[in-house]
């Protein structure tokens, strides 16, 4: 690994390994955050030193960052250092860089940490997916994040920003960067960008474009766009994703664009991206007490809307699990921003700590629903049931079920 090593870094790196090992032995999760935290405390520059000399790609945005990070890691080919355990803050990044010395690095980054992590890791590529309301009790002001990214990207050098041209908040964040590859990818959710981030006047959306009276508008120099096929920087690619949904096509387009800037052959990358069938348990088929389940993570209105579009159009039962713990955001008000009316014709079984909030939402949407207080009464069928769950509920369902 071509980096200057210091005794302090070596001690810190050793501490990360040791603490993570102890954490895993003590069965306290997958053991990455704790070790990373210890390492950063011993050597605050640890992340910077661990990243030096490597090809780093960062991925951030409200929805799709885990999937896009996984698609980049798979698409790159060979050994890639990545934080695939879900810890997307510096502790997780340190742990990932200690665990693998690979020259190729792709890191999923929490939106609030992008400036810190980008300044420390000096990435070659930053991929920005979308910004929308998520965990309202914490990062409530989506626009403040866009402002912070804008300041960061105006300032950062030697980086290509791969950015979603259909999300006005992403365009606002990225437009001052020296080198931007705009991606024209499916982005159905623009409810959080109604007023112009530059002048606050209304934004207008029509015919696949958007603009504001002040001149702020969708960029027209697009690097990546969908037509009959996906075109990435002049190369036409026939996507055949295993992952479902238009939102995963958007994720794949961004991933392939990012890979093209770290000199990965697109045809090879496409094959590897197409082959990805499940990311961190998402979309995977599971078994639980005789039920066959497909687990779908949906943790905010934009993500939920996308996921509802992937459900089959028959009248199959759907299970939905909602928690409102710290990691989910403690305010479940967002349930009223999800178009649950789309589930009319299905019977929805309500799970999770906040199943009554969900049932109330479904009741007002006139969707047939059952509040599951006793799981032993659930009807068993041979059909695969889609389970939509938000963050901690998803982790619970993943833990309690087994792979098929």
């Amino acid at each position: 690994m071509p980096r200057e090593s210091s005794l302090r870094d070596d001690v810190a790196t050793g501490a990360v390994r040791l603490v993570n090992l102890l954490s895993r032995l003590a069965s306290r999760g997958s053991g990455t955050v704790v070790g990373g935290r210890v390492g950063l405390a011993i050597a605050p520059e640890l992340l910077e030193n661990l990243a030096r000399g490597r090809d780093v790609v960062l991925v951030s945005g409200t929805n799709g960052k885990t999937t896009t990070t996984a698609l980049i890691a798979s698409g790159w080919g060979g050994s890639v250092a990545t934080n695939d355990t879900g810890s997307n803050m510096p502790e997780g990044h340190v742990a990932a860089l200690v665990a693998s010395k690979s020259h190729s690095v792709v890191l999923e980054v929490d939106e609030s940490w992008l400036d810190v992590v980008a300044r420390a890791t000096r990435p070659r590529v930053i991929a920005l997916l979308n910004l929308s309301r998520d965990q309202l009790d914490r990062a409530s002001e989506v626009r403040q994040i866009a402002e912070r990214w804008r300041a960061l990207l105006a300032d950062l050098r030697d980086v290509t920003v791969v950015a979603n041209a259909n999300d006005p908040l992403i365009v606002y964040a990225a437009e001052l960067a020296a080198d931007v590859a705009w991606c024209d990818v499916p982005t159905p959710w623009t409810t959080d960008a109604v007023s112009c981030p530059r002048c606050t006047k209304p934004l207008h959306f029509a015919d696949g474009s958007w603009w504001s009276e002040c001149g702020f508008a969708k960029p027209n120099d697009l690097a990546t766009a969908f037509g009959d096929d996906l075109t990435v920087r002049g190369t036409s690619l026939a996507l055949e994703l295993q992952l479902p949904g238009a939102f995963n096509e958007a994720n794949a387009a961004v991933a392939l664009t990012a890979l093209s800037y770290v000199e990965v052959e697109l045809a090879d990358a496409l094959e590897r991206v197409d082959a990805v069938a499940s990311v961190a348990g998402r979309f995977s088929l599971r078994r639980w007490r005789g039920h066959h389940l497909r687990l779908l993570l949906a943790k905010n209105p934009a993500g939920f809307s996308s996921m509802l579009l992937t459900l089959p159009h028959d009248a199959a039962d759907v299970w939905v699990a909602i928690n409102a713990r710290v990691a989910d955001g403690r305010d479940p008000s967002w349930l009223y921003d999800v178009p649950f009316e789309m589930l009319r014709g299905h019977r929805v079984y309500c799970f999770g700590d906040r199943r009554l909030d969900l049932a109330t939402r479904l009741d007002y949407a006139n969707v047939d629903h059952v509040v599951v207080n006793d799981e032993s009464t659930l009807p068993v069928t041979s059909d695969v049931i889609d389970v939509l769950a938000n963050y901690t509920a998803f982790q619970e369902w993943r833990t309690r079920s087994k792979a098929c």
Binding site: R133, L136, D137, R138, S140, E141, V142, R143, T191, V194, S195, P197, T200, K201, P202, R330, D331, S333, W334, L335, Y336, D337, L356, D357, A359, T360, R361, D363, Y364, A365, N366, V371
Partner: protein, 225 residues
Amino acid sequence: MLSVALIYPELLGTYGDGGNALVLAERARRRGFEAEVVNVGIDDEVPDATIYLLGGGEDGPQRLGADLLRASSFAARVRDGNFVFAVCAGLQLLGTSFCVEGDDEYEGLGLVDATTSRGETRAVGDLVVRVDDRALVGFENHGGRTTLGDDVEAFATVEVGLGNDGVVDGFRTPAIWASYAHGPVLAMNPWFADKVLGRALGRELEPLVTVADQLYDERVRALAR
């Protein structure tokens, strides 16, 4: 005919606030009233309506919402007695002034003598207030501290959370009820939804049993101190 006008949902709808319109319309329909929800977009005229709903929003959208409403017939209609239920940013912009990024005294609609200044911290968490001796449960997320004029009645007294100032929440005039309990507060509090609906329709309503009753009981139990 109940006409629920949801004012600028694109600007003032950060926390699922549109849910309140849905709840009112559904609870009216289930009692046999005709009901419609009118989404008043930023390019639309403010229509006549049985009730106007104002939701929460971030700084920029809140400022734009206030500007658009100031230029509309909204204030005149409210002075004529049209009923308003407002939450969060919607509450603030009905007052005389509020804070946005870069301006600590942004002009409100002045329909109520209430000024909102910036608090040192954001109030984020469960909010329980007492309205007419009954608990109203909700969630608040705002950085404002609202001071009411001497002759302005508060909407409720605070039991858990901050509201205006940790003591009282919102304000209440004959035509305007306003609370910091954002989002679908009417979904979580069916008894209060019916109070709003009864006021809008100008009549007493028969009880209506919904799963929301169980939700309300659960939240009251969870938040009771």
